[in-house]
Symmetry: C2
Subunit: 246 residues, 2 copies
């Protein structure tokens, strides 16, 4: 067991912090593993609890550790990061994060457009949508439940085997359509029992709910997407140009 | 009590959906109010439970209703929407959403830069940051806990009474600095006991954790922000230009 150096000019809280980081980097502390309590750390290293608290607070702030209410402090599994400035696909997302992508198409149906479909895809009452529901896996763990909605007149995509790489290819090849701008929405949702069962989590667990309307090169809606992502597995990064704060 | 019209060409699920929407619009069903169960609705309107289920599913999907695990289905209070394409300030956000903004500065301190500060604000070890912690209220309800971190050399902002409208004005007037680009991160976090007490929620409640690094017109970091927002109160909208999907 390494000791802290009380003669060093490096503050003790910083030494403890670096020591914990090293334990994590070198794999002695593993993702989701519980770390010793404040009291245990203060006794083990003969430092005040306030010093321990400062080290842990910074590691929590930096997302290295996570406090779980009433359970203790755990090594945070790094979240998969979706960078909205680069080309988006689940396959790319997994690759960039060192995970093996997988998936299962659960539903692939032509159904009546809902009010939201009509509004967001500019459809008339009675028109249909093609809905594709897919469960996405990273390293064999279900992490995302995705529903894509296309205007019913794009029926030709139905005849193809829809996977992530071919979808936009089909839209291009059969319809000459490519993606233009989009609008995204981020919020928190609670898993219902259906979603929880599919994602192997407890009903009521917080999910990141991401909705997107994707427009084609002419500014017409190409599809909408509703994605539910495990809150403990993902984060989104979004660059913004020329922000105005006032 | 209104009846459904079985002779209409409008499907029954759609009639029930419109009826519930009307009850909400006209204020007979209020935000956070529990609606009758599937069984009660099916008996009251003499329709099948499957029809009721379809109506409710669409209203949940549209964010009008929310299912709470084991508790029932409730009228969702509309979430405040931050639109990242328009000038950002909490004051604007509240005004756009019909709420009265309020706030309290909790901390205003000069402290040692953490590793994250050094990395994100490009500071050297031993440099300081100015940290401003503010609690933000909408209609007197605490909804957001915000921490802003400025490089220590921008000390002159410390001498001013920092409120939302004056901050960027001070940076402009005293330093000639204006906002350029930024990078945002979105993820889910759990409220710790400190955050929960301030925001008057239960510890462990899901919060939207939004981090931002704001750069100045020369591409240098101007400040970083860590905001925790009540997950049941907020959503973010972000437009994207020329998205690439593959």
């Amino acid at each position: 067991m390494q000791e802290l150096d009380t003669t060093s000019i490096v503050p003790l809280y910083k030494q403890l912090k670096d020591l914990i980081l090293k334990e994590i980097e070198e794999g002695r502390l593993k993702p989701n593993q519980k770390i010793p309590t404040e009291l245990e750390l203060s006794e083990r290293y003969q430092i005040s609890r306030m010093t321990v608290r400062k080290s842990l607070a910074q590691l929590v702030d930096e997302g290295i550790l996570a406090k779980k209410q009433g359970k203790g402090t755990f090594v945070q599994e790094p979240k998969m990061t979706e960078d909205l400035s680069s080309p988006n696909s689940f396959t790319n997302l997994c690759k960039r994060n060192g995970k093996v992508p997988g998936g299962r198409t659960l539903k692939f149906i032509l159904e009546e457009a809902t009010d939201r479909d009509m509004k967001e895809l500019k459809l008339e009452p009675g028109e249909q949508v093609i809905r594709v529901e897919r469960l996405r896996l990273a390293d064999n763990m279900p992490v995302m439940l995705e529903n894509l909605y296309f205007p019913g007149h794009l029926k030709n995509i139905l005849v193809e085997n829809l996977d992530d790489t071919s979808l936009y290819q089909i839209l291009h090849d059969k319809y000459g359509l490519v993606t233009g701008n989009s609008v995204m929405e981020f919020e928190i949702s609670e898993a219902n029992s259906y979603e929880a069962a599919l994602m192997e989590i407890r009903a009521g667990s917080p999910l990141l709910l991401v909705r997107e309307i994707v427009y084609d090169q002419y500014g017409q809606p190409l599809h909408r997407t509703k994605s539910l992502l495990r809150g403990d597995k993902f984060k989104y990064i979004s660059p913004r140009m020329n922000v105005i704060k006032n």
